[in-house]
Amino acid sequence: MKPMTAKELEYIADSMSNEELLIKQCTALAVTGTTPALQNLSLQFLQTHQNHYDSLLHAIQHHQQMAPTQPQQ
């Protein structure tokens, strides 16, 4: 495994923001929605987005140890 690039880290951080927004939107739809099919789907999506978020977080965690502490040229 290679160290993560700065660009990859940026994409991961942006992706976690996206997933966080989707988690909130799915929660809102589950709470305020009136169509059972959509409510059930939003609850299912909620779990998937939480998994996505955790996967992204784990990727950072796994690369923490091999990340350099000084800027490379």
Partner: protein
């Protein structure tokens, strides 16, 4: 199942579902971009998996919205429009094939387009036969 609060969104259910749908579409594109710009194989694989998973969610939500009459499907393309594009791109294809043959002496006959109805018969075909003759 979930908190039964007396909460009412100022957005309609349709607005909210539509917002999620367009965010899912955007996130699919962002994961694709992230995957193509990743250098670590494990990170690329992560973004690819997340892209596929998000694409699945987008498809599921689209279908659910369509069933709930929240989505007006685009109108079908007209027959004459299909005929026109078909004619034009068959000519283009000939030129492209000529270009490849002139430069490589090679013929390429693969298609990624395999509708469900055609798949069974195509499985019996072997080699480089086009699936649409």
């Amino acid at each position: 199942m979930y908190q039964q609060q007396q909460k009412q969104s100022i957005l309609t259910e349709e607005d909210l579902a539509g917002a999620i749908l367009s965010d899912l579409k955007r996130v699919v594109r962002e994961y694709a971009t992230a995957a193509t710009e990743s250098t670590c194989p494990d990170i690329r694989q992560l973004f690819t998996k997340l892209m596929n998973s998000t694409l699945t969610l987008q498809g599921q939500l689209f279908q659910a919205m369509q069933q709930a009459n929240m989505y007006n499907a685009a109108s079908p393309a007209l027959r004459q429009e299909l005929d026109k594009q078909m004619k034009q791109y068959q000519q283009t294809k000939q030129k492209t094939t000529q270009f490849v043959q002139q430069n490589l002496g090679q013929q390429q006959n693969q298609t990624f387009y395999t509708p469900a109805m055609q798949q069974q018969t195509n499985q019996q075909q072997q080699g480089n036969q086009p699936y649409y003759m």
